[in-house]
Symmetry: C2
Subunit: 323 residues, 2 copies
């Protein structure tokens, strides 16, 4: 028997995430009605995942539910915001209840981890497309944005770079990547949004972005929007063991420099704030590295990159870019 749109919403998405006191009216009416905290800015981000473009057909729906929310939370992290609410627009080819159950479970688990409530949505029929919008709050005096990097700033990156892209290269689009024990696959399918790190950096860092399109592309956005340039030192890039081994074997640095889907934070900060930022990251137990410096000359340059180390890749992942 066909399940109506209304029943889909009711069954799988009515009580998703953490129930919040600021939600006056959630899923099930024309609009969600929400109470915003006084004196805070509302931070809003929207992102879409398309089957066959952002993930392979057959990808574990539980992982998709996680990732669809994670990539949005990552944008809030890059703004230094605290997450609050999400909405979900889900376009589905058919009404597969097992798929819906797993997807909503993956979404809900991550939502609960960050105190997010799903407050509204729309389900439509069509090619599998998942759009999530998240909203959160940020202190007006502690906003992280892309266009505030200044010459002399140090450039920092959380976590390690390139693992998701390496997983994809090793064939972990649907199943775990060969010989990696699943760690790389986790990085591809269940990225961990750096919410705590973003909040800690708010008020300390000058500029920040999340690394979704690759380090060179995303740091490039900071530079162009700030009217500055960047010099990064290849030897300082944070690499996982698997990533380091791959580079040693192939000599190819393109993955950590241009691979997308990392969802780490790249930020810039005044050098005198180095001890404070290091202490904050230590407090959170978060790995991070200083990888270079902001300068006057436009563009992003790499120090220590061997010739031919960027095999055929000119920039980060761009959906409409030159293939």
């Amino acid at each position: 028997m066909a399940v109506s749109e209304f029943e889909i919403i009711e069954t799988y998405f009515s009580h998703t995430g953490t129930p919040r006191e600021d939600v006056v009216l959630g899923v099930g009416d024309d609009c969600a009605l929400l109470r915003t905290p006084p004196g805070q800015l509302l931070a809003v981000s929207i992102d879409t995942l398309v089957e066959g473009v952002h993930f392979f057909a057959g990808t574990d729906p539980e992982a998709l539910g996680h990732k669809a929310l994670a990539v949005n939370l990552s944008d809030l992290a890059a703004a230094g915001a605290s997450p609050a609410w999400a909405t979900l627009a889900l376009t589905l080819p058919d009404n597969d209840t097992a798929w819906l159950k797993a997807f909503s479970a993956g979404f809900a688990t991550l939502a609960e981890r960050f105190g997010v409530q799903l407050v509204g949505g729309d389900t439509t029929r069509g090619p599998l497309t998942i759009t999530v919008q998240v909203q959160g709050f940020t202190d007006p005096g502690k906003v992280l944005r892309r266009d505030r990097a200044r010459p002399g700033d140090r450039i920092g990156v959380t976590g390690t770079l390139g693992d998701a892209a390496l997983a994809l290269k090793l064939g972990a689009g649907v199943e775990p990547a060969a010989g990696t024990g699943g760690a790389l696959t986790e990085r591809l399918h269940r990225p961990s949004p750096r919410i705590e790190e973003g909040r800690a950096l708010a008020g300390l860092a000058n500029a920040a972005i999340d690394v979704s399109d690759g380090l060179l592309a995303d740091l490039g956005h900071i530079c162009s929007q700030s009217g500055v340039g960047a010099l990064i030192d290849i030897s300082l890039l944070p690499l996982s063991g698997a990533m380091a081994a791959h580079i040693k074997e192939t000599g190819d640095w393109s993955i950590p420099l241009t691979g997308g889907d990392d969802y780490e934070l790249c930020f810039t900060a005044r050098p005198q704030l180095t001890p404070k930022i290091e202490a904050e990251m230590h407090r959170l137990g978060s790995g991070f590295c200083w990888i270079g410096e902001i300068g006057q000359a436009p563009g992003v340059r790499c120090r220590g990159l061997p010739g031919g180390a960027l095999k055929g890749v000119a920039g980060g992942y761009e959906h409409f870019g030159t293939p």
Copy 2:
């Protein structure tokens, strides 16, 4: 030459709609940053239009830009909210600059009419899918919701019913419907969200919904969520000349009762508020009719419906419903 995702956003969507003072940071960063007015509730709605499901391939992109925003604004209208911001997640099969230009123009014209600024978005490659989220404000003491209808309430409807569905039936999916001079087609492709009417009804009506899935289905939502029933009088339904002629000719009442895409408001209110509501609607120059009454018995019943007048249609338009 391929145009990158970033350039698409920059070129077509950077300055869309009315520039608003409450937008601290708009399109182009990880998040939009917005100032919310103190003491107001935030109203949020998200809706998706899918090619081949909600509109035909080849539909005028300018009309699509209008409609994608209009169907969302209609949800704000049903909540009695004043629109403020929109975000747009656009999945496109290719980078057709003429299409993008027309789409963004249609979106922008309607946005400007209601003082809405586009504050963020995502463009991805894939089958044509358009998701818009709108946000607005509403007075906490004047909220319109679905679950507040009470026995004895009168049931009102703005505008006329069934025109969009009739246009579709007459073949106006892409071109104007035959012999209607384009008026029906306008109703299908450029629905007018009843924002002013919703704001006027806020604080007067008990319950409201926008008629997107058909009168029976949407009034049915009010009834089931309020724990009441409705009795509507067929002879009171507001019909355009074309709709009345079609019923006279075919004897088929299914279109005004179950046809979707009207985006009129259906609301319920205490009978003693009749003069006040009529005065408000008169002030706005808005057509509206009283069509029935809320009662205790569950379900939606129609008085005066001839036998066989609902040809083969059991309910409103539901994407996953029995075809």
